[in-house]
Amino acid sequence: MSRFEFYNNDGLRIDGRRSNELKNFESSITTTSNFANFSRNTSTNTTYLQMGQNKVLVTINGPKEPTNRTKIDSNKATLSTNINISKFSKVNRNTNKSNLPDKQTLEWEYEITQLFSTIVVLETYPKSTISINVTVLQQDGGVLSAIINCITIALINNSIQIYDIITAVSIGIVDQKHFLLDLNHLEEQFLSSGTIATVGGGDQVSLLRIRDKFPLDLIEEFMQVGLQGCSVLKEIITKQVKDMNLNKLVEIQ
């Protein structure tokens, strides 16, 4: 095991949280402070999410006419995701010279596209594309979950029809018995961890990703902790989206 004590006898983690405590979660509809300039359905409509020290920006472009004629689907819209993880987002600067995304980012793009293709009501927007552009400014463990949460909020704010809210959370396991919710970067580095995303805070799992060795008999508990975290997160997101939209209304009037 590593030299860190991830979960001490008092039930506290490295950063002083309890095992099932989420990081603070703050989102805002637009990055410009001037709400008077706010206009809907422009690509300047950027959603910002801060989940602990994860800072994620999402811009949603569309639904618009596809630039490439061959991509047109006459029945429904096509979805595309582009994730840009900035080189300064980690503690150590990424020294990779090329500007091409690394393999993990490509995997995330694939998974996120698959995930949101079933959640967005694509039939409403035939012959068009919706492109999701993600920029990660700072990462602190569980970036994938932060990206998914931010895209959900961005879709709502861009008035794109979705069936339900998707929430995602990362989970780690200490000493084969304690489950930690919403990891920070130290925990993510040293523990076996996974990400889970559910639809509408219920028990319907829509994305699951465990890439580390993990005991099979603990999978049930893992899911329970994940589902709980997701349902809490759903309440938070719903509340924040409502508040944001109220603020927006007030500003416009």
């Binding site: 949101f116 079933t118 799992v205 699951l208 993990f214």
Partner: protein, 319 residues
């Protein structure tokens, strides 16, 4: 995976109706029945494996070739004590008329599956990379597995993971001696090859999901976990593979450890089902692992037919 293959609406409906009655297009009786797996190891060579999936009538559905090669390279700067490992899996014109020869984009299924197998082996330390170091910081072995699809009718992920693990278990690299920083590579005539350090055998299994209702309905009926919203099918054929609406991939080893657990989007399924599937996968994977070990054992015996005659070892009595 295949781009040009288009399934007509009537055929689509037909296949889905068959599945709803738990029947398959190729004559299998149940949704969870897998096709017969054949592992052929090429004699006189190390790490050269042909895998076959056979239909019930004996014809070959999918054929895969896995080949391990090793070469000496300079290690990565961050990890001077570790060898490197790379998997190259490709579909090309060999696999069938509907596969193109040029390289497909990064957003495709096959890229994703290839990555999955690579990280399945690397992240779980199934292959001990530290054994591959010759001179720290200067010379390490680079192990490369080439996976070629020769005939394709579904079941790529399982076969590729089985093939890679069999090939790695079977492969022997040339022995190396280091004296005064001078490296000598011994050919197989001089010295017996050295086996790679395979610490455990992870095998992937793919559960394919077919919705019984509209996606919207499944999402709306949130808490009804006892309702059957989807069909689960093992070992899809190519046509079923194109019609599926979600998948669930699990890689396990015999020691009851999950190595990979992936559900990339698709229709949502309830958490209890995922737990159920994970436990269901274990006996299947145990069976496959035994099959691999048996195939390698048989090959070993064939190879060393005269070993007992050539050995200079005395009989020893163990108390």
């Amino acid at each position: 995976m295949a781009k040009d293959l288009v399934i007509t609406n009537t055929e689509r409906q037909f296949i889905l109706d068959l599945l709803a009655n738990s029947q398959r297009l190729d004559g299998r009786k149940s949704l969870l029945q897998q096709r017969d797996l054949n592992i052929n190891i090429t004699p006189n060579r190390y790490g050269d494996i042909y895998l076959e999936l056979k239909r019930d009538d004996g014809s070959i559905a999918t054929r895969l070739h896995c080949k391990v090669t090793a070469e000496i390279v300079k290690p990565k700067d961050q990890r001077p004590f570790e060898g490197t490992f790379y998997i190259n899996c490709e579909f090309n014109g060999l696999a069938g008329l509907n596969f193109e020869n040029y390289k497909v984009g990064n957003n495709s299924d096959e890229f994703y599956y290839g990555r999955l197998i690579e990280s399945m082996i690397l992240r779980s330390n199934a292959l001990d990379l530290e054994q591959l170091c010759i001179v720290a910081g200067l010379k390490v072995w680079n192990i490369r597995v080439d996976v070629h699809v020769l005939e394709f009718d579904g079941g790529f992920l399982e076969l590729a993971s089985i093939g890679c693990m069999t090939a790695l278990l079977h492969y022997r690299r040339p022995d190396v001696t280091v004296r005064n920083e001078k490296v000598t590579i011994h050919s197989f005539d001089e010295k017996e090859g050295v086996k790679l350090g395979v610490l455990h055998i992870p095998i992937a299994l793919q559960f394919n999901l077919f919705p019984l209702k509209e996606a919207a309905e499944i999402i709306k009926t949130n808490t009804s976990s006892e309702n059957n919203n989807e069909l689960v099918v093992l070992d899809c054929t190519l046509k079923e593979d194109l019609l599926k609406d979600g998948e669930f991939i699990i890689a396990l080893n015999k020691n009851r450890e999950i190595v990979q657990l992936n559900k990339p989007g698709g229709i949502p399924i309830s958490a209890s089902k995922i737990v159920e599937f994970s436990h269901m996968a274990l006996p299947i994977i145990e069976e496959t692992t035994n099959k691999i070990l048996k195939a390698i054992d048989i090959d070993e015996k064939k190879r060393n037919k005269y070993a007992h005659l050539l050995s200079a070892e005395n009989d020893r009595y163990v108390e």
